[in-house]
């Protein structure tokens, strides 16, 4: 089923691929959380146009497939004259796409904090940024941590989709090895097992974390 010799012979290509996937995941997670945080705050803002704009952004990205979004930027970035190459442009794609999902998680996290906290912070004379920074976000982050980490595992799996536009991420380099050596069965089985070995232990840990950090009210 698995040709270990073939895997060993191509270990450099495969390791590079895995590193690329991990980089993309880390970058999109951090970028997505920062942008998602801004989107969530905009969504909850009392200033209507800002809130509508953020809602439109989130709904647009959540109603189309990630594959489609990958192609948007794949075609649009060169169309507007930026020659940065697909392996760099997907970093933008994934950040913008994930921001929509992270913003929904963060919004739910913020909304899970009781109104009394907000009122108390204002009553103590804290400004809006101070209230967010010292009172609301620390509690909200704790509540949403497990969901966010789960989303990161999903994101890691989704990065495999960049294979479609010919990028050599882990899945992409597996495909290259598979077609160069006529070893579809062996290499795709290997890819499935490798992804499972990365994601399963993390998922299990997250399940335990989920139980430990229950929503505090």
């Amino acid at each position: 089923m698995i040709d270990l010799q073939l895997v060993l012979d191509n270990r450099e290509l495969l390791t590079e691929g895995m590193l690329y996937s991990l980089q993309l995941t880390a970058f999109a997670t951090l970028g997505g959380i920062v942008l998602g945080c801004l989107l969530a705050l905009a969504r909850l803002s009392a200033f209507k146009p800002l809130s509508l704009l953020s809602a439109a952004y989130v709904n647009l990205f959540r109603s189309v497939p990630l594959v489609l979004v990958i192609f948007w930027f794949y075609f649009l970035i060169p169309y507007f004259g930026f020659q940065i190459g697909p392996d760099k442009s997907v970093f933008i794609t994934f950040t913008l796409f994930e921001a929509a999902y992270f913003s929904e998680i963060i919004r739910a996290g913020i909304q899970s904090i009781s109104r009394g906290q907000l009122a108390a912070a204002y009553a103590l004379g804290l400004t809006y940024p101070q209230t967010m920074r010292y009172v609301i976000l620390p509690q909200a982050l704790r509540n949403m941590l497990p969901v966010m980490l789960t989303q990161t595992v999903v994101l890691f799996q989704d990065t495999s989709l960049v294979t479609i536009i010919g990028i050599k991420d882990f899945m992409g380099s597996t495909s290259v090895v598979a077609s160069n050596n006529g070893a579809m069965t062996e290499m795709y089985t290997f890819a499935a097992i490798a992804y499972f070995c990365v994601c399963f232990p993390i998922s299990m840990l997250l399940k335990r974390l989920h139980k430990r950090i229950a929503v505090i009210r």
């Binding site: 109603s63 489609l68 192609f71 075609f75 799996q157 495999s160 899945m171 795709y188 499935a192």
Partner: protein
Amino acid sequence: MDLNLDWGVLLQESPTGDGPYWQLLWTGAKWTVATALTGWALALLVGSIVGVMRTLPYKPLAWLGDAYVEVVRNIPLLVQLFFWFFVWPELLPREIGLWYKQDMPYPEFITAALALGWFTAARVAEQVKSGILSLPRGQKNAALALGFTLPQTYRLVVLPQAFRIVIPPLTSEFMNIFKNSAAALAIGLTELTFQMKQMVEYSNEVIVSIAAVTTIYMVMAFAVNRGMAWLERKSRIPGMIGGGR
């Protein structure tokens, strides 16, 4: 910057031989819907069975259900698509495998529907399980105390309530299967995103192609959303908070 949008391109003949570009997109939309719906039927069937299995008092069955869900949820969809397309026929007995590779009608469509179905089934199973577990324990215990057998308890008491509870979370899974079907372009299914790629490459009308396809996806998402909202209203359980949640 001059964008030069030419919306008329949608009416022009495409070089693929499938008629004008709008028809290219229409064919793509049909494949997307067909794949999503076929996959969804499989996902509902398998997901319900696996979901119920995971709540049964027989350890091996529950373990088997859990194992299935964990395996499917921790392997990317694209890898699963490739598995069903390239690896699966090799695992079948020789003759069936050959037929699968050479003579099966619409191989991309069937493979994509199968892969999406099994993939989504794990998510459906998760929802069905939590739906069953969210019922008050008394429901099951009362049914058993009244002398119902376990199958009767599930069929007459637990499942009719659980299925109505899981409809709202299933809405987002139903939406996801439409979106996930786009990944099937990797095995050559001519669904909507695949057709957009073709249209961009042949016509060079980047913005028009993207706008048209994105609009179609948004219309689909909206239709699914409204349809499920209607179903949700129809299936509320009276007496529960939020009418069924």
